[in-house]
Amino acid sequence: MARAKAERQQPTTGMTLIVLVGLAIAFLLFMAFLNVVKSGNLLSETNLLFAALIFYAGAGALYLGFGVTGTESYVKFASLATWLGLIANTAAVAHRWYEAGHPPFASVYEMLLSFVWTLAVLTLVAEKKYGVKVIGTVTMPVAIVGVVLMQLLRTDVHPLVPALQSTWLHVHVTLAMLAYAACALSFALAMMFLIQDEMKTETFLAVTSASTLAIYASVVLTRFEKWGGLSLVAWNPEQKSEVFLSKGVRLFVTIPDLGWLMVLALLVVASPLVFYGLARWKKKKDDGFLTLANRAVFISILLQVMALVMFLVRASDGRYPSLDADGLFSTSLAASPFILSGLVGGVFISLLYLLLLWRRPDLERLLPSADNLDRITYKTIGIAFPLLTLMIAAGAYWANQTWGSYWSWDPKETWAAITWLVYAGYLHMRVTRGWRGRRAAYFAILGFAVVMFTFFGVTYLLPGLHAYA
């Protein structure tokens, strides 16, 4: 129903969005310029990053506009904006490198800086070399979240502790960044393959709903406090660091009522999955439930945005009580990077689903053929796998130089090995069993999920030697 309605709409005429985005960029640059005049320092890292953020945001809007309307001229301006953002980003990386005296890989902030840079480069490569034009729709929002997170994290240049002063560290981290970026690309390509492979839109609905459900369920399960509060890590704004009760024990503050909002969001986010289940259960060709499910997605986006906005407003400002200590403490978005990324990610996944729901025929027209996507996915993994191998080897060599042991089964190491095994499994199934198409795409998606867990999950959930990153 919704799809039919959407198809009847006239595509927006080309220039409107470009002009709007152009004006927005000009306005933001003007505001930034005023700021620069006030502080008298043009090429500070903050300004460069801010410029990069503005351009990436403009590029993201244009790529999204391209995805929705299929207007070719958007892409030209989108890649122009990406180029400009990349230039600013490169300058920021160079500035950082010069300032710190070592390549920017030593802290989460510096890793994000390099990651966003790699992502922008890969976006341009995928677009120009392989003609995958919509890729910006996925990568640019990720880049934006990355730059926003960077603004929150502590930015002062940290001297390197003795264990990190090694060339092998740079080799190791560079390889990791390249490998993970290649894995991310293979994931995006596998998703596009599934679209081109005529996977049912309902299946995407179920997956979207299940992922957002998982996000909200983990937030509610781990952070919901009695009487509807949401507990967050306390933050010391002067030191820009988390507050510790004792070594390794963080202090949590409780923001009242925000917990209820998360529970409500959880229920609404779950509803499309329920309707989908009902539609499957009735089996008859009854689209009633599916229509309901699609509407529920729409409502869930509104609620997710509300939850995100409330979270942003309340976490970035105000002082809250704690269950473990007397007094009021402040918190910050930087103290909860995972909840923030989760909430933004949820909205983003749901929006991508809407894009698919409304504009599927256009997307199918714009994307390369299923066969090509399958092949490019394989090629990307063919790049990612040797890089992963070398990354692990460089890490092992470095560990041997520093700790006297090339392998100590530390969680990050173990998960890197698991990632390697998953991709090795993919390659074996593809070569010996001839797995192509859908099964290979699922495998590529699984591989990327493991990569994400290795990159983020292990750092924050499991203890270990990789305390630096």
């Binding site: 003795p162 002063q165 080897a393 060599y397």
Partner: protein, 483 residues
Amino acid sequence: MAVNVRASARKLWQTAASINTGVVLLILVVIFSAAGTIVLQRPNTEPDEMLTAYSPHALRILDATGLTDVFHAWWFLTLMILVSFSIIAASIERFPNSWRYFSRPYKYPDESFRRVLHPQKSLAIADEETGLVAAERALHSFGFKPERVVREDHFGIFAERHRISEMAVYIVHASLLLIFFGAIVDGVWGWRGTLNLNEGETSSAVELRDGSTRNLPFAIRCDQAGQENYKDGTPKKWWSKLAVVRDQRDVEKKEIVVNDPLVYGGVRFYQSSFGPNGKVDELTIAATPSGGTGEKREISLRVNDTVPLDADTTVRFAEFIPDYAVRDGQVYRKSNQLENPAAHLVVSSKSAGKDFDVWFPPMEDVADNSKAPYQLEATDLKMGHFTGLQVSHEPGQWAVWAGVVLLGIGLAFVFYVVHTRFWAVPVRDAKTGKYTLWIGGSANRNRDAFAERVNDLVGLVEEKLRTIPETARSERVATGVGK
């Protein structure tokens, strides 16, 4: 019965070699490794931390199953051995075929092969020799070295490149086995421990992970150790000057820093930490006779040193307490952390036949600072330092690094080196008697891009055919080859 045993052995072998077994084993490795990162692991986690994390009952079950030390559990080792066995079996099972393929390249495509090969193309040619020469020249300008294949009743052109690519996967598997081998050698014969040395101290006793001690056949002496800081106070560099002592002689010396170990006799010494050892190196005091008439003297003392102040009086550095507390007129050692230090000196007077306890800081109930014949003042305190060394012996690591290098090479071949083959065969149509040149090619990966290459080659052959006729004929006359 014998047949039965052989049959079941054969079956077992085939099971081990099958890809399904490999995949199941890999999945098991993944599951158990993941478990090993989620459950707290024994040697790294303190026992009381384990007790707070799990209930006694749960802990007993976890310990009994080995889940608290997954990576050293017997079943994990068994699993790794099974994986190795599966890799070996799978490689041996598939190797003969690949080897045949590798050692006896298929140079002349027979008719059935020609029919099914893709991509292929046929060009009209005047006669056999023209076609062959054109193909040869085209392949030459393609960068290949074509070879003429002559059989009893027919001939053709064969050219190939990077045949080694067919063996690449075995290189990868062999390198993995080499890495496993090195790891097993290290697991059985290797060990790791720590050695903490105070400046000036010599020791050969390494404390191993499990708490036992291992005596090295040589000793290590730390001559000096130090730390350099960044401006903000975080450590920038730790260094120690070490000497290897064997039979009372210094056989080797090196200043080590983090990331740059000392290697001697297969044992590596890594700088891992540095800090005050809570012991005093040297205390400097200023002594003035109590009468107020004598000169002020500066004296440096180590613990237990006794120094004469004049003919009648001596001072002894009796004790240093890094963290003290006073209770009931007694001084106690609270801890060995350098928190609240106190120094105890004894001034003895022979003529008075009396000892005076001098304390820094002066403690009212305990100290005789003001009664002593000399007024002492502490002017400087030099603390001793220790250097923390990680010691490891990894006899298998050379196999591991060799395996890693081989793995890198193998993977590069697997993904980026393509075995390409081209054939060109002149074919005579039985009915019309006219000749065509059949051109075909095959590549072991990236086949779509390869189809383009075959098209390019065909274009090149056509071009050569246009330029050849006369020269080819003259060559034919010269060599005497023809119909």
